[in-house]
């Protein structure tokens, strides 16, 4: 009994210790932002690697999600004779929820795992130690640009996801199922609110960008420097990011769209 309590305590202390290390790393990363402004080339290179190279998977996924929304939305709305509101349904679903959330999940799988593996391997091959011994702070030089690139890329990718999704919904709803072209766009224009829907979606994306990039970088930086350790860290990045995004989405949705 005492042994079980002791092991439970050890697990709890270990988790708290990791949380503490994670926060210290985050402070270190944020502390390097001013330094990064003087070296914009690092940010540009990482934005390409983290953001630009994710565009394909994001847009293709956005297209299919929009098409599915078009199909499902039309099926339900037509039962109430409200097919003209399909545009609103597709756009609101994408801008408020699916755009930020699915983009963050895809980001964690594509860019987050790559970040963890890269940082973990840099640690395993002593590149981070090498930088330290060259009097270069690896957190500022390696981690901060990747973090900033993730935070900048996420809302842009979510915007692309939503835009392509709306077009996918249009193809299916208007092109295949005969919803009125003008109604699709005009209802969307009338009902989607810039502050309530679009800005809140952007805020969600920014939060997910911070969380996903932080988790990915911490898992890589804290990984056991072996092939098995890096592999486990990469898995943890995807699992922790997915759980954090879904949990935070509920909290943010409750705060943003809850009863006033």
């Amino acid at each position: 009994m005492i042994d079980r309590l002791a092991s439970l305590g050890r697990i709890g202390l270990g988790s708290l210790e990791r949380l503490g290390r994670g926060h210290l790393l985050l402070f270190g990363i944020i502390g390097g932002l001013s330094d990064m402004v003087r070296r914009p080339r690092l940010l540009i290179a990482q934005t390409h690697s983290v953001g630009v190279l994710s565009i394909l998977i994001i847009t293709v996924s956005g297209l299919f999600v929009g098409m599915v929304l078009g199909l499902q939305g039309h099926y339900i709305l037509s039962q109430f004779g409200a097919e003209e509101t399909l545009g609103v349904m597709v756009a609101a679903s994408l801008v408020r929820e699916l755009g930020p959330v699915v983009t963050a999940l895809l980001f964690a799988g594509r860019a987050g795992s790559a970040l963890t593996a890269e940082i973990g391997l840099m640690k395993a091959t002593e590149q981070l130690s090498g930088l330290e011994m060259m009097a270069v702070n690896p957190i500022k030089r390696v981690l901060t640009p990747r973090f900033a690139a993730g935070v900048i890329s996420m809302p842009l990718l979510a915007a692309m996801f939503s835009a392509v999704g709306v077009i996918g919904g249009y193809f299916v709803g208007v092109g295949l199922l005969g919803v009125d072209d003008g109604a699709y766009w005009s209802q969307m224009q009338a009902k989607i609110d810039l502050r309530e829907d679009v800005f809140n979606g952007i805020i969600k994306s920014l939060v997910f960008g911070v969380v996903c990039s932080w988790i990915a970088l911490f898992q890589g930086y804290d990984a056991t420097p072996t092939s098995e350790g890096v592999s486990r860290a990469t898995t943890r990045t995807v699992v922790h990011s997915a759980l954090a995004v879904l949990g935070l989405d509920f909290v943010l949705t409750a705060l943003m769209f809850g009863e006033d």
Binding site: T125, E126, Q127, S129, M133, M134, A135, V136
Partner: protein, 271 residues
């Protein structure tokens, strides 16, 4: 062997060092002096903490107790800024080379110059080519680290380590896993770089022959203690049983050939 070993205040002074990993004491009351201007070898069997010692000297690890002074400064009491200023005067050659894999050879060597100086690119180019020439790899400047052999990677790392003309270089197992030609090249390079740049070198290794050939002073570490210290030839010819077994690579001695077991006869007869 270098004849420039300076008898003045040592460059690195380690006193009463204690460092543990978990319950196990890696170092327990270790005193080491690294003299200026020479090559000091830290030797000992695998797992004895030689690399850990270099990381302690570079403050990548913190000791439980004891002091490490580098050029008169207690490295574990320095602020981050002071530490980085000191590290600019220290070079370290990692066992793997630790080259940045997304940069080619030229950019790897140029990296510390671009980070810490405001030299124009034309001057950086001249310096990089001179450092690469010193290690014989000027012609390999466009290669990526993945295209280099282990020995070449270590030579590039050496060129990078001397890019800022440091006062000392720490070599972590420079000869491990190298073929005889690469070993010979590295031995010669360490000796030449040490003499030409008048710096202090610390070589951590268990390759007795190569290390003893270039070292001015040897420290042998085992079980967390310094078991032998002194001029290279003195330690190499030591009569102390453990040191003799290690330096000459004898299969049996204080470190027994046989893992502890019961009597062979009893074991064979099954009684």
């Amino acid at each position: 062997m270098s004849s420039d070993v300076n008898n003045s205040e040592p460059l690195v002074k380690i006193r009463n060092l204690r460092f543990c990993r978990g319950e196990r004491a890696i170092f327990d009351g270790v005193d080491i002096d690294i003299p200026r201007g020479g090559i000091t070898a830290i030797m000992g069997p695998s797992g004895t903490g030689k690399t850990t010692l270099l990381k302690l000297i570079g403050r990548q690890l913190h000791p439980e107790s004891g002091t490490i002074e580098v050029d008169g400064q207690d490295i574990h009491r320095l602020s981050t800024r002071e530490l980085y200023e000191l590290r600019m005067r220290m070079g370290m050659l990692f066992q793997s080379g630790a080259l940045l894999t997304d940069l080619n050879v030229y950019d790897n060597v140029a990296y510390p110059l671009r980070e810490h100086t405001r030299l124009p690119e034309s001057m950086v180019r001249k310096l990089v080519l001179m450092k690469l020439e010193a290690v014989g790899l000027r012609g390999a400047r466009k290669l990526m680290p993945s295209e280099l052999s282990g020995g070449m990677a270590r030579r590039v790392a050496l060129a990078r380590a001397i890019a800022l003309d440091p006062m000392m270089i720490m070599y972590d197992e420079p000869f491990t896993g190298q073929d005889p030609i690469s070993k010979g090249v590295l031995v010669e390079l360490i000796r030449e770089v040490n003499q030409a740049s008048r710096l202090t070198s610390i070589v951590v290794s268990h390759d007795v022959e190569e290390t003893a050939a270039i070292a001015d002073v040897i420290y042998v570490i085992s079980n967390g203690k310094v078991v032998a210290r002194g001029p290279s030839d003195e330690v190499a010819n030591s009569d102390a049983p453990w040191v003799k077994q290690f330096m000459r690579g004898l299969p049996d001695g204080p470190v027994p050939f046989h893992f502890p077991a019961c009597d062979l006869e009893q074991d064979l007869l099954g009684s």
